[in-house]
């Protein structure tokens, strides 16, 4: 059962978190663009971000199940990973997705362009932070500092 959970956990991380990472990092570039084409791209990227963010919830759930199965749920590297995962999820749910929502639709009148660019800029920073948090969690998962399990 541990090997099945581990496979599903890694597979879910690749298939669900990967698209979110790409979509949120590319989103600001198309939100700054002004062509009709970019409106459609922005809508698709927003949809990918939202749908795969929900599906991505399966990654920590499978991870917790696996950690409980292995009896390492209280280990420092697992707890640290969980805290960073919650931080990444909050950045996505509280900062990135609402900001994307505000940048949906065609660009407003010229007076709103500055606000739009500022939001897109903040979105770039938040996207970078999201990716960084996930990268640190992946490194923790591989290195597992202080762990003696050979799985």
């Amino acid at each position: 059962m541990g090997k099945v959970l581990l496979s599903l956990h890694v597979l879910a991380a690749i298939v669900f978190i990967g698209p979110v990472t790409v979509a949120v990092s590319v989103f600001p570039r198309y939100a700054r663009a002004t062509s009709d084409h970019s409106v459609e791209v922005v809508a698709l990227l927003h949809r990918i971000s939202r749908v795969y963010a929900v599906l991505g919830l399966s990654v920590p759930v499978l991870g917790i199940a696996l950690a409980a199965h292995l009896g390492v749920l209280g280990d420092a590297w697992v707890v640290a990973s969980l805290v960073l995962t919650i931080a990444a999820a909050l950045v996505l749910a509280v900062v990135i997705l609402p900001a994307q929502d505000r940048l949906m639709g065609p660009p407003a009148e010229p007076s709103a362009v500055a606000t739009r660019l500022a939001t897109a800029s903040r979105l770039s920073t938040a996207s970078g932070l999201f990716s960084l948090l996930w990268a640190v969690v992946v490194v923790l998962m591989v290195v597992r500092p202080g762990s003696t399990t050979g799985v």
């Binding site: 963010a53 929900v54 917790i64 199940a65 949906m104």
Partner: protein
């Protein structure tokens, strides 16, 4: 995006799927616990229920629902179904336009 804060039919369908899985998986877990208590059922349906519970909350917060309806999804076991019922009655009561 429309200005009117009414969840789309497809949005509510996703909330419905997540809610049904949330409740059904818990029923399977409890029945298993009370009867055969097979560890494979527990380790399969446990993560399924956990994911469905979180997905229900996430979907509710992504849809244009009222804060009260969103908070209802936090209720364990049947929160999603309660929120779905509330969202549907509110939408119908407000004269929501069918898609």
């Amino acid at each position: 995006m429309t200005a009117v804060a009414t969840p789309t039919t497809s949005g509510l369908r996703w909330l419905g799927v997540a809610s049904v899985v949330e409740t059904a998986s818990l029923v399977v877990l409890v029945v298993n616990l009370a009867t055969v208590h097979h560890p494979l059922v527990t380790s399969t349906m446990g993560p399924v229920h956990g994911f469905a519970y979180l997905a229900t909350i996430a979907v509710a917060f992504l849809l244009p629902l009222t804060t009260g309806t969103r908070l209802l999804t936090l209720v364990p076991a049947v929160g999603g179904l309660l929120a779905l019922h509330r969202a549907r009655t509110r939408t119908a009561g407000a004269g929501g336009t069918p898609a």
